[in-house]
Structure formats: structure tokens, C-alpha cells
């Protein structure tokens, strides 16, 4: 998370017609404070997360006084959510009635692909972005999907070892379609090109599938195989046939080890089915 946490009230004081909470997220336990009200709230276009829980002070909820609503790309919230800084949650010590945003998606910062070999593999994890917009006046329309997102890497910093490679872990929470396009123009064969769909777990498992402490589930989208020089690999992963995943893990390696140049890997993600 950005520190200090961005204050939505600064944007309102500056005259903005809406506030925006935009930050990178470093862990599942992060909770963000929103100190301004809004007439409607939705995931922002850059959000990697697909499910955000918004909690607010609601005196009509017994005991906890905590109301909650979940934002998804398909369900923006069209109602007023207001912090109550003039009063407090019934806690000891009391906490001001601020609006809280937290992750509803599972997100494991300690994820390692199963079979990860420290001596042969690099790990490149894209830190997911939390993006929420709160409008001060009813917007003409509420967006019902996030912006499409493209990740592109042309240079792959593989480990210098025989068959040394690199894993890319890309956030894909609730994305409904993914397309993986690899053009090998490197002058050599790319070895063990592999794509997995990953669903993070919050459950600690004494016998995890992967080397990480949690039992993250992996599904094979593309089994490991070689990509000859001068060829293109296109893999489509619609949710209807391949499933929905929290992230995609992509591996590629070089025969001799070391960096791979001129092999653009493009991953295209969209909320459209």
C-alpha cells in the first residue's frame, strides 16, 4: 500500500467531483480508510481485484453496527455510503465510523508455483492494484466492467542455468477471458512454455501443493512445451471452458539459460465473456 494512505477527503477539498482510491496492494490483510461519502461507488477501470468489500457504520445492524456491501465489476453500488466521523463503532476503544475497503478476493503474496526451483527460476509478480471510485453526484451511468488490461514483456530475465527460466504471475481476479500470445523471435527455442490458472487459498495446509505455506490451487491452461524459433503461440482461456482464476502463472525458459530477447509475450485480460 502507499504510505501514508491516500486520503479521499483531500480530493474532495480540492474540488473533485469524485474521489478515487488507487493504490497497489501488498497483502490480503490491508484495510483502507475512506473518509468521504459518495452517492455511488464502483470498481475503477484499473482495478485488478474483482471483489472489494465496503464496510460502513450502520446503527440498524445489531451488535456490530457494521453494514457491508460488495463491489464487483458487474455490480457497482448505486446508493449513498457515508462515513460517520461524528460517531463511533461500538468497539473498545471506540473507533470512528469511517468507511473501510478491504479485499474480498483471496490474494497470497507468498505464492510460489508448484515445482518452483530457486536455482533455475526467477519469479516476477505483478502487484495488483486496488481502484475504487466514489461519485459525489449520481453519475449518468455506472460502469459494469473494468478496463481491459494488457501485460506485455519482450525481454525475459531468465536465470543463468541450463533450462533457466522465469515465472510471471499476473493478477486476473474475476476476469472472464484471457488470451496469451507469445511470438518467439529470439533466434532459439523457448523451452517449457507453460500457463497455469491459480486460485489463491486462505487456508494453511500442512501438506501444501506448492512450496508456499498456503494451499493455492493450480489448473493447467497450457501444458509445458517448447516454442520453436519464429513461431507464434496463441492460447485462449475463456472462463466458460477454462474457469476463472485469481491469477495466471506463466513460465518460459531458454535452453542454455540466461536472458531471452525479442520474444514478446502479451497477455490480454477482459471482463467480457
Amino acid at each position: 500500500m502507499t504510505y501514508p494512505q491516500p486520503r479521499t477527503s483531500d480530493q474532495i477539498a480540492a474540488g473533485a467531483p469524485q474521489w478515487r482510491l488507487y493504490t497497489k496492494v501488498a497483502g490480503q490483510g490491508e484495510i483502507y480508510e475512506i473518509d468521504n461519502s459518495c452517492t455511488a461507488m464502483a470498481l475503477g477501470p484499473e482495478s485488478d481485484f474483482g471483489q472489494i468489500q465496503i464496510s460502513y457504520l450502520d446503527p440498524s445492524v445489531p451488535t456490530s453496527n457494521l453494514g457491508a456491501v460488495r463491489l464487483t465489476p458487474q455490480y457497482p453500488y448505486g446508493g449513498r455510503i457515508a462515513p460517520r466521523l461524528d460517531t463511533s463503532y461500538p468497539l473498545s476503544p471506540p473507533r470512528k465510523g469511517i468507511v473501510l475497503a478491504s479485499l474480498f478476493d483471496n490474494f497470497n503474496t507468498g505464492y510460489l508455483p508448484s515445482g518452483f526451483n530457486v536455482s533455475k527460476m526467477q519469479l516476477f509478480v505483478v502487484t495488483p492494484i486496488l481502484d475504487i471510485i466514489g461519485w459525489q453526484q449520481p453519475p449518468p451511468t455506472l460502469p459494469q466492467k473494468r478496463a481491459d488490461k494488457t501485460f506485455e514483456y519482450q525481454f525475459h530475465a531468465c536465470t543463468v542455468a541450463a533450462n533457466g527460466g522465469i515465472w510471471y504471475v499476473l493478477p486476473a481476479f474475476l476476469r472472464r477471458y484471457a488470451m496469451f500470445h507469445l511470438f518467439n523471435n529470439s533466434g532459439a527455442t523457448i523451452k517449457n512454455y507453460e500457463i497455469r490458472g491459480v486460485n489463491f487459498s486462505t487456508v494453511s495446509n500442512p501438506n501444501p501443493v506448492g512450496p508456499g505455506p498456503r494451499d493455492d490451487a493450480e489448473s493447467v491452461i497450457l501444458a509445458a512445451g517448447d516454442i520453436a524459433d519464429g513461431t507464434v503461440s496463441v492460447v485462449e482461456a475463456p472462463a466458460s471452458t477454462k474457469g476463472m482464476f485469481d491469477a495466471y502463472a506463466i513460465f518460459l525458459s531458454s535452453v542454455a539459460g540466461g536472458n531471452i530477447s525479442n520474444a514478446p509475450l502479451r497477455v490480454y485480460l477482459t471482463d467480457d465473456a
Binding site: 474532495i12 468521504n36 461519502s37 461524528d86 449520481p138
Partner: protein, 157 residues
Amino acid sequence: MTNIRGRRPLPNPNSQTLSRAVPTFPAPSSAGPGDVFNLTEPKTFITRPGAIVQLISAQQPWAKVTLTLETAGPVEVSSSSNWTFLNGQGQSLITNVPMDFTIAKGNNLYLQAGSAERVRFTLSPFPWLEIITQVLRGGFSSLATAVSALASAVRGK
């Protein structure tokens, strides 16, 4: 019978109203700190959560206050300095809807919000209302003086 010779004549209660002299009105109060008599004051302010803010004090003359909530709210106003927020004791502002309040001299207007909200505030003075009220007050005063004198005379009879 009572001999009335030598007594002073009774004062004419209409003497002032029959005066042909041009009436004099009290001049409007001069502009000074906090005086809005001759000023239209537009501004936008950010509310402070949980604080009751005084918008108009009782010392200020008649004025029309227009409040427009630019943010989502809730923001409430009240003429009392002590009310429970969102408990039906104040009046809520509506986003993007200008709300006018005509504030007579001697009244207050307070505002309260639960978070930092942006409120557009326009203060428009009513100079003629002050003059009217002062003239009325002056007229009533003259009338009261006359009635009082008449009553004194009757009692002394």
C-alpha cells in the same frame, strides 16, 4: 364638579403622525468585520466532521442564505446550536439542490456533517428588510410614547 381651569392641556396623541416634517430613518449599520449588510458573500467551504459550525450569528441583519451541497452528504442545518445529527432535528441538504433560508436578524443558523463535505454558501443581504423593521420599530415606538403619555394624563386627572 371638578374645576379644570388652570390645568395643562392634554397632549395630542397624533402630534407626531400629523407632523409635516420629512421623517428620518435610522441609517443602516456601517460595514465592518462580520457585517454583511452591504455584502453578497459567495464562498465554498469544507465541513469538519462532527463539528457544529455557525453560519449566521444573531448580530447579523436580515439575509437570505443559499446552501448547495456539492458532495454526497449527509449535511444538516438547524437554527439550534445543539442537535443530534441525523435524528430528524435538523434539515438535510440535498446534493446539487440549492436550498434557501431567510434568516431574520436575531436568529442563528448552524451546520453539521459526518464527514468532509463541500458546501456552496451564498449570503445575500436584505437591506430593505432592515429598514422596514427599523421604521416599523420607530413607528411603534412613537405610538407607544403617545399612548403612554395619554395614559399618564388620564391617570393624573
